[in-house]
């Protein structure tokens, strides 16, 4: 009986820890379609702008699909206008953007 009680307590503690852990990791992912990303001078320029932007966790460039993929820290979101501005500052035009919660 004592073993069952300890096991159940440990189980719920683990679930609670996992739950809170996933809460810390929850940010937003933005997939931005940008034309002309085949040149690294351009792609790196965009990558650098996002890396140096507060709240950005990671930046990936998918050359095959022409996508800039940005993941943010927990609770950090960007308005579409801000994303457009960052891409424009890098010398490009954002064609479209989709977002999803992580």
């Amino acid at each position: 009986m004592k073993f069952l009680l300890i096991s159940t307590t440990l189980f719920f503690m683990a679930i609670t820890l996992l739950w809170s852990g996933s809460g810390f990791a929850a940010g937003t992912q933005y997939n931005m379609r940008v034309d002309g990303l085949a040149c690294p001078f351009c792609a790196y320029g965009i990558e650098k702008k996002f890396i140096k932007t507060e709240g950005v966790d990671s930046v990936d460039i998918d050359l095959q699909k022409g996508l800039v993929i940005v993941k943010t820290h927990e609770g950090k979101t960007f308005k579409e206008e801000k994303l457009k501005e960052i891409i424009n500052d890098s010398g490009f035009t954002m064609k479209s953007v989709t977002e999803k919660n992580l």
């Binding site: 085949a38 040149c39 690294p40 001078f41 790196y44 320029g45 650098k48 890396i51 890098s90 010398g91």
Partner: protein, 317 residues
């Protein structure tokens, strides 16, 4: 009906004449035997001898220095592709074009907005410049050239200028108008790289204008070339470009240009006469020839961005 046919005939005649004029004036043929691909080395990865997007290359004697950009390091090889050493892992963020002057390696660091200087053995020596758009400041510098007196020439990709600085980083002058991309009126469009010849002529890779500018030591434009009138008309023909990402001067004084979207290197005399073109075609989505350097024996080494490798070419006979 007869009248319409006559007009069509005349139009066809005019088009054919125009094509002929363009061909004879702006499309050059090779002046040398074709280069031969001797070997390639490298593959995608982070182990020694592997690359994750090589972006810059230079040669000194029997050593080939490569910017391994996403691995944040410089790798040094012998001319056969045997790795000799690596360095810069603690100092570099996104290394791009390279140049060697007075036994020091200058690295344009795209993310740090600085020029980093190392000994040829790999000891970090100093950094030049700071982030910004003011005089003496850098915003994503893609290349660097160093003059005999130690002056630096640094292109700023989004600042649309090339700055000349003293060795301590103090501003001397610039070409292009800060932050204004353009084709005319002394403007540049995303300059990517620079090179200096022995006589002090500065060659600017005016990247998105698809042209090369040759500037005399007094700062005046000597000549420019790249497509009809060197006015941002891109194309796949000899002497035309489609986004220039690298430029270097060989020991013979000839100018080598990495013609990125055309997946090739083009070779010119210092006054812009087309000599040769060679490269490996990309299978997409990105491209191959991003930077180029010629060795003393005439071999040409190319940083192949798409294939994460180095190409070694030798002149044909």
């Amino acid at each position: 009906m007869k009248k319409i046919l006559k007009i069509i005939q005349w139009l066809l005649f005019v088009v054919l004449v125009l094509i002929g004029v363009i061909y004879f004036i702006w499309i050059s043929s090779a002046q040398e035997p074709a280069y031969i691909l001797e070997k390639t080395w490298g593959e995608k990865g982070s182990a020694k001898g592997q690359f994750n997007e090589p972006t810059g290359i230079t040669v000194k004697g029997k050593e080939v220095f490569v910017s391994d950009s996403r691995n944040q390091r410089i790798q040094v090889f012998n001319p056969d592709g045997v790795i000799l050493r690596q360095f810069g892992m603690n100092n570099l963020e996104r290394p791009m074009s390279l140049t060697i002057a007075k036994d020091e390696l200058y690295v344009a660091d795209y993310f740090a907005d600085q020029i980093k200087v190392f000994s040829l053995q790999g000891d970090y020596r100093r950094s030049i410049g700071r982030p910004g758009t003011g005089p003496g400041e850098f915003s994503i510098p893609g290349g660097v050239a160093v003059a005999e007196n130690g002056d630096l020439y640094v292109p700023g990709f989004t600042t649309q200028r090339v700055q000349q600085l003293r060795a301590d980083g103090s501003f001397v002058r610039q070409w292009g108008i800060t932050g204004e991309a353009g084709t005319f009126g002394g403007k540049l469009r995303y300059p990517t790289d620079v090179a200096l010849s022995k006589d002090g002529t500065l060659f600017i890779a005016d990247g998105y204008n698809d042209r090369i500018l040759a500037i005399a030591p007094d700062g005046q434009l000597l000549t420019k070339w790249g497509g009809p009138f060197a006015m941002n008309i891109f194309g796949p023909f000899n002497g035309w470009f489609a986004t220039i990402t690298g430029i270097s001067i060989g020991p013979s004084g000839n100018v080598f240009v990495a013609d990125f979207y055309n997946d090739r290197v083009q070779k010119f005399t210092p006054d812009g006469v087309f000599l040769n073109a060679f490269g490996i075609k990309s299978t997409g989505p990105t491209h191959t020839s991003i930077a180029v350097a010629e060795a003393d024996d005439g071999s040409v080494f190319v940083a192949d961005y798409a294939n994460h490798q180095i190409q070694k070419w030798r002149p044909g006979k």
